[in-house]
């Protein structure tokens, strides 16, 4: 079972605009596949064509308000994870994107002012235990909203399906 990491460090990719929607994260023309590696080749394509060439495993995506609004396509989470993104930190998330992320065991963190705190390329660290976003390039930091216990349980289980199965097994046992 994957542990939730307590600290993540990576380079920032900052998209401060509010309401970045799932059509931009992974356009519908790619919804005829659901292979993560293939989706990853088109991550963020309609908002930033250069993203896929720049992103490296372990990077951190920083966004503004209402990130991931629109369509319920989980392909948005898969595309970002497939591209190597470890965590998305946004001012706020749309409901379905947030739920999809946590259900996949993918970290989505709400942090007010995150997008103002970082520029693309900055060296960021997410300290989950202390609830802190640290920008080592600028020497700045911000507190974020701690994950709920339920979200932590899901993440610790590795996502919704392992969580549901484990609970079922307990009932059966």
């Amino acid at each position: 079972m994957p542990e939730i990491p307590t600290k993540l460090r990576g380079r920032a990719h900052v998209y401060g605009r509010p309401h970045i929607n799932t059509d931009e994260i992974i356009p519908a023309r790619h919804l005829n596949v659901h292979d993560e590696a293939e989706l990853a080749r088109h991550a963020m394509e309609d908002i930033d064509e250069g993203f896929v060439a720049r992103v490296r495993p372990g990077d951190i995506l920083v966004a503004g308000e209402d990130f991931g609004c629109g369509s319920s396509r989980e392909h948005a989470v898969w595309a970002l994870r497939g591209a190597g993104v470890k965590v998305v930190i946004a001012q706020s998330f749309s409901r379905i994107f947030f739920r999809n992320a946590i259900n996949n065991g993918f970290l989505a963190i709400e942090c007010v002012g995150a997008a103002e705190l970082a520029s693309t390329g900055d060296d960021l660290e997410v300290d989950l235990e202390r609830g802190l976003l640290l920008n080592h390039t600028r020497g700045a930091e911000a507190r974020f909203v701690p994950l709920t216990d339920f979200a932590k349980e899901l993440l610790a289980a590795g996502g919704l399906l392992p969580f549901v199965l484990a609970k079922r097994a307990k009932v059966v046992a």
Partner: protein, 440 residues
């Protein structure tokens, strides 16, 4: 303190006396709707975990809708996976191409949606079905997998935003204009995580078709669900389609609402949402006549028979402007057949429109009317995000079917009140045997 319909529904389905917003509940599901884009990944997840049986095939409804008839080889593979899976699982409620439809329009039309149900679908516009007094919400593929395996799902009980619709719709103004005006007021995340509950003196006068357009777009305000009480109109709609029993939930008079809003429906004008957010709504009188390369009438928002009747009443005897293409996409096969019987398809064809079989098609930039760079489209769909209907350099304007039809004739954004026959709306009297279904 009392509870809202949504709270009552979720309490009932999670075996509790009462629930409060913010609480996490595990709720049983009455209906799970599956289409070819988000279901195959869910099925693949379950197979990987060694789960080969759905919890109850009789609670599942399957239809391909997004890329049908198959737009390319990969879409054909998805539709094939969906078809094979439903056969293997013995799911009887299946609508193959030829009987198919956009799931959110098809499920209620075919009598599968009953007041008092909890409904999920791997699609954000599942909120549509809340117009029949259900808790209906969109989910991703992992949630869908869990739902298919267990028949349950966790939900955070949403806060409820109450919106009262007062008065009746003026000439040339439709329910699409109501919802565009609401989203423009509260913003695309104005109801984030919330149930958008409707009531007010204006609600009884709206047909079911008009209501679905309103709840359809709850997600465009960030809502978790849209919900309306299952009143007389709703009950008649359901009873015309199924003899299954249903339960009615109503909000208590002392229910707690996160906020309350009142819309004077009678003061509205036709609205157009400018590119590239559904919240960019403007009254049509404030707009200049921007040229449109394409007009699109269809989708789970506005592809029902009433929508086509309204559009046809404007297009009858007119021609689509030179330099503009008009595409009409009935939301379901049943709508297509009714439109045929009522002579609407002929009206569209004579006016120079293309009429397609039911599909999501160009609504999400799939096929049947994808936009090229620099092109403009006035569409009756629900999203005008950048690139939604094709090129990231195309521009989408959202409006009602009436405004779309008027725009098709003018070639530029046009006010439907200048084109509607003065006797009111909808003008075309339905003919044929199936009319009772729509209670016109």
């Amino acid at each position: 303190m009392g509870m809202t319909i949504t709270e009552k529904l979720l309490a009932d389905h999670s075996g509790r006396e009462r629930v409060v917003p913010g609480e996490i509940v595990n709720a049983t599901l009455d209906l799970i709707i599956c289409h070819e884009v988000t279901t195959p990944p869910a099925v693949a997840m379950l197979k990987k975990l060694g789960i080969h049986k759905v919890f109850d095939p009789s609670k599942i409804l399957v239809t391909p809708d997004h890329f049908v008839p198959n737009k390319d080889i990969r879409s054909a593979e998805l539709a094939k996976q969906l078809r094979e899976w439903r056969e293997e699982q013995g799911i009887e409620r299946y609508y193959e191409v030829g009987n198919h439809g956009i799931c959110h329009a098809l499920a209620p039309e075919q009598g599968h949606v009953l007041p008092g149900q909890t409904i999920v679908c791997g699609d954000s516009h599942t909120t549509t079905m809340g117009a029949l007094g259900t808790f209906a919400t969109g989910i991703g593929s992992t949630d869908l997998a869990a739902a298919l395996a267990t028949g349950e799902l966790w939900f955070k009980v949403p806060e409820t935003m109450r919106i009262d619709l007062e008065g009746s719709l003026p000439f040339g103004v439709y329910s699409k204009d109501i919802i565009l005006s609401i989203i423009s007021k509260i913003g695309v995340d104005g109801a984030r995580y919330m149930a958008m509950e409707y009531g007010g003196s204006g609600l009884p006068s709206l047909s079911m078709e008009a209501r679905f357009t309103i709840t359809n777009m709850a997600i465009e305000a960030g809502g978790k669900s849209g919900i309306m009480p299952a009143d007389q109109v709703a009950q008649e709609y359901v009873k015309a389609r199924t003899s299954d029993a249903f339960r009615i939930f109503e909000s208590d008079a002392d229910a707690h609402y996160a906020s309350r809003h009142r819309i004077q429906v009678s003061a509205l004008e036709p609205m157009v949402a400018l590119p590239s957010l559904p919240s960019n709504g403007r009254f049509i009188s404030e707009l200049s006549p921007v040229k449109m390369d394409q007009v699109y009438i269809g989708s789970c928002t506005n592809g029902r028979i009433e929508d086509l009747r309204i559009a046809a009443s404007i297009l009858a005897g007119n021609k689509v402007a030179a330099g503009t293409r008009a595409i009409v996409v009935p939301a379901t096969t049943e709508v297509w057949k009714l439109a045929l019987k009522e002579g609407l398809l002929e009206i569209f064809a004579d006016a120079g429109c293309v009429v397609s079989t039911a599909t999501c098609g160009a609504c999400l930039g799939g096929h049947m009317g994808v936009l090229g760079p620099g092109e403009t489209c006035l569409s009756t769909t629900n999203r005008n995000f950048i690139g939604r209907m094709g090129s990231t350099k195309s521009l989408v304007y959202l409006a009602s079917p009436a405004t779309a039809a008027a725009t098709a004739i003018a070639g530029v954004i046009a006010d439907p009140r200048d084109y509607l026959p003065s006797s009111g709306h909808p003008v075309l009297a339905p003919t044929g045997t199936d009319d009772y279904l729509w209670g016109v």
